[in-house]
């Protein structure tokens, strides 16, 4: 399982209801269903992912979250997950607000643009960062709203969003210490559990 997902699955209660925004091929919702007896719904716009997720027996709705989530009632889910998709939406702030309207809690993971490698590439080499983790060139990337750990926490403060917990993923699985101590510099992926 993707590293950010293996972190956040611990925050999801058994038998709860989960909405996964940008659920991909549904592997995470399938895990939650099989291991946590979670009742899940996925949102996705990629047609192959939708077919794959339906094959897994999941409920998947083809819907672009940039066009709003108003069709989901208030507090209709326990947890709303936005895993590595925050940077790809048009209005990240609105999506966060909607997540916490629909769910009691939200879980957000995003690539940290403040990571030292990104800074190095931009600051020293003068190029937009491209890495194994963010393999796109600037003109064809689906990621249109990069932020840093500090930026995200500022936004949460401005919006009155409470951070219940956070976790950081470093460059390697074995070295999370730097990422935890100085996340804005060393975290590749930031993971947040938020609520109102």
């Amino acid at each position: 399982m993707r590293l950010d997902l293996s972190h956040i699955q611990r925050w999801i209660a058994p038998n709860s209801r989960v909405l996964d925004l940008g659920c991909g091929d549904g592997v995470f919702l399938e895990f939650l269903r099989d291991q946590r007896q979670v009742r899940g719904t996925g949102l996705e716009i990629d047609q192959d992912y939708i077919t794959a997720a339906i094959s897994r027996g999941l409920n998947v709705v083809e819907q672009n979250m940039d066009e709003g989530l108003s069709n989901f009632p208030d507090h209709s889910f326990d947890t709303v997950v936005l895993a590595l998709a925050l940077q790809a939406v048009n209005y990240p702030d609105r999506v966060l607000e909607e997540m916490l309207r629909i769910g009691r809690e939200g879980i957000v993971t995003f690539p940290n643009f403040g990571h030292w490698r990104c800074r190095l590439m931009l600051g020293i080499r003068g190029h937009m960062p491209v890495s194994g983790f963010m393999p796109y060139t600037w003109y064809n990337t689906p990621n249109i709203h990069f932020c840093t750990v500090n930026d995200f926490e500022d936004l949460c403060r401005d919006k009155g969003i409470r951070i219940l917990a956070r976790n950081m993923v470093g460059n390697t699985r074995r070295q999370p210490i730097l990422a935890r101590k100085w996340p804005n510099l060393f975290a590749t992926t930031a993971i947040y559990r938020i609520t109102r």
Partner: protein, 383 residues
């Protein structure tokens, strides 16, 4: 031809069957049918648990012949042969598929051109008006007749999708999955308008005789043909028509000095469709079917609240729409999906990019077939 049938992913040669029901069927309009017949076909085999049965509900001009061929020398397969057969989305290697001609139809089931037992003459325009609910009730009788307690899935496109949704509310314990393709919770004013023009075309044909044309040994072929032509235009998209015909000429030319006149391909195509249809379809049935479509309003009996309506359902839903369908647009399907989400019912939804307009639901569009197959495999795994 036979080898072609055997080699393809076809259910092969099929023979329609008839179920006779001797008990009266109480109808929404207040009247009752004293007895009735339903003609139907089945494909695949019913398993011993009787848990693999799938009901196909047909659309406005459909009938029981959904898949396979009626004889070795017919070239025309059933209307949904793209989706029903071995290895196809509704896989007859797994499912027992039941497809019937609805009451009021003109292909064998009791309808305007069958005999009214109380008069000994054809029903004609006196045949009682049908509602989607009446069809669902009669389909449930057919399920009883076949020994099917619970459908693995009830599936339909367009008006068929409306029947599938009605099933989920009328018999929530008798349906596990509801597949709703290119449908709507109710018709829009624009849709009602098209249906009215179609009916007016038929009713204004001098050979219609207020529906008693059979007494006069006439067929209102011009009206019926015109009604079909109007319908056909609305089932296609602008792009589909542009791709298929453009401004290509069938005959004549647009050259200066040519006073013979030109005929566009789209003209001759529509005329052909119209005349084919008027030879195979009954005018009173067409009027009856369009009225049933008009009157369908899923939530009417639930204080006009589709969310409250869907709270009665217990099955899982799969909803599909097509991007260029302007008769039953994706917006209409999203209304269904949103009501299901608000009612906390399991739903999956796919919006298929397709050029073919409303007719896309009958077409072999790869993404459509893929996602449909994926959903049906899951139905198969849980039956």
């Amino acid at each position: 031809m036979l080898s072609e049938i055997v080699n393809s992913q076809s259910v092969g040669i099929v023979t329609p069957q008839v179920a006779y029901f001797d008990e009266p069927l109480q109808l929404t309009c207040g009247r009752a049918l004293p007895n009735y017949e339903l003609v139907y076909e089945t494909y695949g085999a019913l398993n011993t648990q009787r848990s693999n049965a799938v009901l196909i509900c047909h659309a406005l001009s459909g009938n029981h012949h959904a898949a396979g061929y009626h004889s070795t020398d017919t070239k025309k397969a059933g209307w949904w042969d793209e989706c029903i057969g071995p290895g196809k989305p509704i896989d007859t290697n797994h499912f027992f598929v039941v497809s019937l001609n609805n009451l009021g139809g003109c292909h064998g089931s009791t309808g305007p051109n069958t005999i009214n037992p109380s008069t000994g003459k054809v029903w004609g325009p006196d045949f009682p008006p049908m509602r989607t609910t009446d069809w669902v009730q009669s389909q449930a009788k057919l399920a009883d007749h076949l020994g099917i307690d619970c459908w693995a899935a009830v599936i339909g496109g367009s008006l068929g999708g409306m029947q599938a949704m009605r099933w989920s509310l009328e018999f929530p314990e008798r349906i596990r999955h509801c597949v709703v393709i290119a449908a709507a919770l109710k018709l829009s004013a624009q849709n009602l308008a098209f249906n009215e023009v179609a009916r007016q075309a038929i009713e204004s044909d001098p050979d219609f005789f207020s529906g008693t044309y059979q007494d006069h040994s006439k067929v209102p072929a011009r009206g019926l043909s015109l009604a079909r032509m109007i319908g056909h235009i609305t089932y296609l998209s602008d792009d589909a028509m542009a791709n298929k015909f453009g401004r290509d000429l069938q005959s004549g030319s647009l050259d200066r000095g040519d006073n013979v006149g030109a005929e566009f391909q789209v003209q001759s195509y529509l005329r052909y469709q119209g005349s084919q249809f008027s030879g195979n379809f009954d005018a009173n049935t067409y009027i009856l079917m369009t009225r049933a479509l008009d009157y369908f309003d899923l939530a009417l009996r639930y204080d006009n609240d589709p969310v409250a309506a869907f709270r009665h359902a217990q099955c899982s839903f799969f909803v599909v729409s097509f991007s260029t369908d302007w008769r039953f647009s994706p917006v209409r399907s999203r209304e269904i999906v949103n009501a299901l989400i608000a009612a906390d019912r399991p739903v999956s939804y796919a919006e298929i990019e397709a050029n073919e307009g409303h007719d896309a639901f009958l077409m072999p569009i790869p993404r459509y077939l893929d996602v449909f197959r994926a959903y049906m495999q899951r139905v198969a795994e849980t039956d």
